[in-house]
């Protein structure tokens, strides 16, 4: 078992799945010779050739739309959108087609694609390179949304996503890409979609996070009797695990990078307020990005939830 970072774990998942199933193909901007701007697809062109690792023209709607056609024909395309800030031109294809073709054709066709895209603050790049817009995709029935927070889970979740019969948005935190190293087995294992992970058990407060925010959350809960849930799949999210924890602790803090208003934290909070309200001791707190256009690098660290802000959120709910 080797120790590796998330970039390598994702690369390994892609490589193994391509070896296993020749219907798996990759397409996107710079995924070939360049190996992707984050090197996630490095080495794959040499192993699998241009027919399976397709450098495409610079057109996100095109990439996703073409992937949909390939999938309907029987392939399993893994499309890369270079940054989440550039996924919007593909929203029409994702919402109006990828999400619906199974339903529209009453099961005759399906769209088993994976759309991988780096997200979140992390690389000190210009505007649009730091977005976290997961919530939009969670509000589209027919789409699954997955966000790993560590190399081990990244590999296992990506394999599940590739094998999943439905379209999956797979978000990779640029900040985590090379931050954490972890033991990652070679060869096949999967982490199931739709299941959350209890990273730390605790009794006083439930802290829910995903992807890039998990590390900061873990730092914030040091010395706190907190149960930390890594959601991993946002849509459909693991209500059962969340409610069970709320039942135990009675207090909830939700942490995400995206702006507060309409973020996915709202859905989790509202679900709890609807289905698990009676277990609650006090308000549900969301610690999130601000309702602002994401600033350029000089201010981006102030935009993201900090360990201090998470801790403050925990303190607030602990007052009840």
């Amino acid at each position: 078992m080797a120790t590796m970072n998330m970039v390598h774990a994702i690369n390994l998942a892609l490589k193994e799945e391509m070896q296993r199933d020749k219907n798996v193909v990759i397409l996107g901007e710079d995924v070939g010779r360049d190996g992707g701007v984050f090197r996630v697809t490095e080495g794959l062109l040499d192993m699998f050739g241009e027919e399976r690792i397709m450098d495409t023209p610079l057109a996100e709607s095109g990439i996703v739309g073409v992937a949909i056609g390939m999938a309907a024909y029987g392939l399993k395309p893994v499309a890369e959108v270079q940054f989440m800030g550039f996924i919007y031109p593909a929203v029409d294809q994702i919402f109006n087609h990828a999400a619906r073709i199974r339903s529209r054709s009453r099961g005759r066709y399906s769209v088993p694609i994976v759309i991988r895209t780096p997200y979140g603050v992390g690389i000190k790049s210009p505007e649009h390179h730091s977005e976290s817009s997961e919530a939009h995709f969670c509000h589209m029935p027919g789409i699954k949304v997955v966000v790993p927070s560590s190399p081990y889970n990244a590999k296992g979740l990506l394999i599940s996503a590739i094998r999943d019969p439905d379209p999956v948005i797979f978000l990779e935190s640029t900040r985590l890409y090379r931050m954490i190293k972890e033991e990652v087995p070679e060869g096949e294992y999967t982490v199931p979609l739709g299941k959350a992970r209890i990273v730390q058990e605790g009794g006083q407060v439930t802290v829910i996070a995903w992807g890039s925010m998990l590390q900061k959350t873990m730092k914030a809960v040091e010395g706190v009797d907190a149960e930390v849930i890594d959601l991993m799949t946002l849509n459909p999210f693991d209500e059962e695990t969340v409610y069970a924890s709320v039942k135990k602790t009675g207090r909830v803090v939700i942490v995400h990078e995206a702006p507060k208003t309409g973020g996915f934290g709202a859905e989790i909070s509202a679900s709890i307020a609807e289905d698990a309200m009676l277990y609650l001791k006090g308000p549900i707190k969301r610690v999130t990005g601000y309702d602002a256009v994401l600033p350029l690098p000089k201010l981006e660290d102030y935009y993201m939830p900090t360990v201090e802000r998470i801790l403050k959120g925990i303190d607030e709910v602990m007052q009840y």
Partner: protein, 351 residues
């Protein structure tokens, strides 16, 4: 060499069958008499279906419907050139192409009646579900073509869209991907001169739609879309080229939408009667009939029989469509995903 010409392009238009029913025999595609009869009979069936669908809508028996009146040759001429292995990616105005491809008429009515089971395409029929958002499915046809090539299948895909559809970004991205990947796809633009109320001249300042292919490094051609021989011939050449590895082609079928945009539209608000009248003499079925008459392939009796048969088939389809039991409310949740989510399972309990 201060100013030099580094590339050039000529846009061609193909016509074979004139309005008077005379064909340029040197250009005629190899079609047997029985094939020509089959074409005629299918065209009549398509028109009969279309007419009936409009009536059904008026009677409130189906919902909004998009007529194909005037575009029958563009639709049949294109699908008729296909092999069984080829694929059709229709927009909302391809009822004729669907019929020509062997799709059950009752299912088309079921769809326009508001029941998605009407586009559950039967296995073995290579048709993609109707796409409503204009231009978007062009990319799917390109993707499927790339997949077919990757799998080594001898198959071409056909993407249908209108003159309005050429303005969408997805048209551009699809054409460009097709050129770059030399995808075995044929783009069929039914330029029917209108996109709802917007005339062709306001849709693009290009003189023809066909010339847009030049921007993507492959061939575009305009055909008289009311001339089924020209449509068929151009399509056949294009799909053969595609399957043979020659890459994509854009075919502009120059035709006319004789009816309102859909049953929700009133074309008299924005176009003149004279314009519509002028296109009547170019009718694609009339033209084929005159040709066949000259060839001894058509007489009154045959014509009547064809219409009677078509009516009977359409009657049958209407009956069948209306006999289908209503979908169950819970059906809306199935097929969202392969399996219901836990939340959907709870929502199902409402029904």
């Amino acid at each position: 060499m201060p100013e030099t010409t580094i590339e050039s392009c000529n846009v061609k238009r193909l016509e074979i069958l004139s309005e008077t029913g005379d064909a340029d025999e040197s250009m005629m595609p190899p079609l047997s008499d029985s094939q020509i009869r089959e074409l005629y009979e299918t065209l009549v069936r398509m028109r009969t279906f279309d007419h009936r669908a409009l009536n059904l809508q008026r009677e409130g028996r189906i919902g909004t419907y998009a007529s194909i009146l005037g575009q029958e040759a563009s639709q049949l001429g294109t699908v008729y050139a296909l092999e069984k292995t080829d694929w059709v990616f229709p927009s909302f105005r391809e009822n004729g192409a669907l019929i020509g491809r062997g799709y059950e008429m009752y299912m088309i009515l079921q769809y326009w009646g508001g029941d998605e089971r009407g586009i559950k395409i039967p296995e073995g029929l290579n048709i993609f579900p109707i796409s409503i958002p204009v231009g978007t499915h062009i990319l799917h046809a390109v993707g499927a073509a790339i997949a077919a090539k990757y799998k080594g299948d001898k198959a071409a895909t056909l993407a249908y869209f209108g003159d309005g559809g050429t303005s969408e970004g997805d048209f551009h991205e699809g054409m460009n991907f097709a050129g770059v990947f030399k995808a075995p796809v044929v783009f069929i633009c039914q330029n029917n001169q209108w996109a709802i109320s917007v005339p062709r001249a306001k849709q693009t300042a290009a003189k023809t739609i066909a010339q847009k292919a030049f921007a993507y490094g492959f061939e575009g051609v305009q055909v008289d879309g009311n001339d089924i021989f020209a449509v068929y011939k151009a399509t056949k050449a294009a799909v053969d080229k595609a399957r043979g590895g020659g890459g994509p082609t854009l075919i502009e079928c120059h035709t006319y939408r004789m009816s309102d945009h859909t049953t929700a539209d009133d074309a008299s608000r924005y176009r003149t009667k004279d314009e519509v009248e002028a296109w009547k003499s170019k009718d694609p079925i009339l033209r084929l009939k005159l040709y066949m008459e000259k060839k001894g392939l058509w007489n009154e009796e045959y014509g009547k029989q064809v219409e009677t048969d078509a009516t009977a088939m359409v009657d049958e389809a209407v009956k069948k469509a209306e006999a289908v039991e209503r979908p169950k409310p819970a059906d809306m949740l199935t097929y969202t995903y392969k399996e219901l989510t836990p939340r959907q399972v709870k929502q199902m309990r409402d029904f």
